[in-house]
Subunit: 213 residues, 4 copies
């Protein structure tokens, strides 16, 4: 049943997807453990202490949205994939390595946003910078998958690939811009991240239904 | 095999279920890490210190029951789904975002219930409020899935849908009532959450067996 | 494809197994986060600080072995299951609720075993007591599944069921004995837990190979 | 459908893989929670505090690479497996037990590398020692799977098995050497771990594509 070629790689597409989905489900769920129950100070109510932690909630929603968008795009990409080779495995592991890091800058933003000044800028720049690296890693994966016809069911038409590349370039440029802006106006950068997630969400929302497999 | 329509969305029903199940399994299991081993004070035995932490255990069981019930209902709902579209993906991600938050108010209840007064009320209101948002998110998902015949195997008969909507309305009303009561009588609200989980459990227990797939 | 009966329960056997496997995989992996890197005191080497934490490692291995054994037995049981009904769903969720708690007494044992005296006894009794509850929950699940022929591929022969019930009784008695002994000789109780895991492991090791599905 | 032999073991290959993949996905994702947001001291910027934590990031990448490599090799091995017996189950659980421990020495390295001297040596030796145990556990699993023809689709040719054994021996020797070197030159040992992961990555990258299953 298993051909010699399968035996050589040993990882099939469905296993790669299962493992990637597992990592994505875990990392998106782990975000919550960075939101700690507040210590209530003297002369403070619990409600006030909870309000004071708003950057934790903001960071949770922003990071959840980014990881959700990565999950949507990851599946959409792999839907076209027919077979798996060594570089694809490594490029996918590389992407997962950067995705799995997201809870760390999320917690740094939660801890430092209220400080303002250089602390807030550094925290948001760390978050934005990691998203830039994620965008680069995703682009690398896409480029490898579509660089010739071996790995896909059917190589998309040349103009579709070109459109996708332009799209990836714009995404990458947008994240890079948010990274640069983090050093001057961290809140603007956070709004940009919310907008990028909203854009991808709107993009998905306009898709038509697909039959269940 | 994969039609053009499938390629456009890229997420099939089974993958959506697998991802949702992953998030639910993780969040229900993460609840335990909010129960910390107690620090034993001077002149106190470990047994006493363990008893003192009863709100942690209570919060664990209540949250576990609520997430368990969400899992049961989520599967029951998706059993009827035939195909997946963009808004369904987003409504499901939205639901998961609120489910994944549950360990946070669970920990806040565990930390503050014994304080009594405003602290206990605020903590239970936070927990109850999140359950209200979960109920709204679930209702939104149900409404989208059943709003026309495109996404389901077979649109349930009109009276079944009407009965389900009444049921959702009652559930939402019950959670909202528990939320309101939290501000006056937090223990009553917690009893209401236990009752709602018990109701759904009894409801499931009366179901007949289904053949394995 | 989905019969009316399936629609009524909405959870099929394979989804129940996937969810259960997810919870078991997560809880067995979460055990490690209870082992904290040691604080190195003044005039102490890191190696000494690491040795001092031996109860953490012992607790990790004991808990891992118990959860591993539960996973083996859970799969062995569900291999006979043909269909799923409401009570089975609830009995399985009940079992998962107690399994998911295991990291908590594991951490309590790790923190208190070296104290000796009442602290060690209480900690080990908590761990042993949870295993008793797990054994009861597992026995309840088994009893429901085999109480008539509706849920299984084929009801095992009467003497096989009787042998299994005796076996469950012995297991339950052994865990209960370990619980009782915890209050007098906690280390003896821990040795009993190691022995029970070893017994199940030996029991599995004598099984013959089965074809891949 | 299920033969008597299947019923006796109750765990099929696909379930064993799913459970193993679950544990691997969780442990690789849990690594991030060992990277804590830094406490910013007086007269220090957040950026400086973040730089100071470089051993955390280094430890994350090294551990991620090692677990990634284990995942690749685990799948490659199980691709040849046809059926599962008791000892294989136990040898696999044993391997998972050591893999799931990896976040612990990773955190110890992160906490102690900057101390230098005996602390750094002990920390890296703990990390290296665990990798040696992992290599031994993996070798044991491989040896059992290939020791006769019962468990595999087709026993690999004698020279392939011999080559694989030599390869495992070299891997084991390399990890053991890194362990020994840890006590004298911890940074050299860490470089060796990076090289071993890089070697396996290069090895995978040269594989040809396999058709999707």
């Amino acid at each position: 049943m298993a051909s010699a070629a399968t035996n050589r790689t040993g990882i099939t597409k469905s296993r790669l997807e299962t493992f990637s989905d597992g990592v994505l489900a875990i990392v998106i769920t782990l975000l919550v453990i960075e939101i700690r129950p507040p210590e209530v100070g003297a002369g403070e109510t619990l409600a006030e202490a909870l309000w004071d932690h708003w950057p934790s909630y903001l960071a949770y929603f922003l990071a959840f949205a980014q990881i959700g968008v990565i999950w949507l795009n990851h599946h959409r990409l792999f839907d076209q994939v027919r077979s798996v080779d060594g570089p694809l495995l490594l490029l996918n592991l590389n992407l997962l390595m950067w995705i799995a890091l997201i809870p760390f800058p999320t917690a740094v933003v939660a801890d430092n946003l209220q400080e303002g000044g250089a602390s807030a800028e550094t925290a948001v720049a760390l978050f934005s910078g990691l998203l830039v690296i994620n965008a680069i890693s995703f682009t690398g994966l896409y480029a490898w998958i579509t660089h010739d016809a071996r790995l896909v069911h059917e190589l998309p038409p040349r103009d579709v690939v070109r459109a996708a590349r332009i799209r990836f370039g714009i995404g990458l440029g947008f994240y890079s811009l948010a990274f640069a802006i983090s050093f001057a106006a961290p809140y603007v950068a956070l709004v940009m991240h919310a907008l990028s997630a909203g854009y991808y969400a709107f993009d998905q929302a306009t898709l038509q239904s697909s039959p269940a497999d």
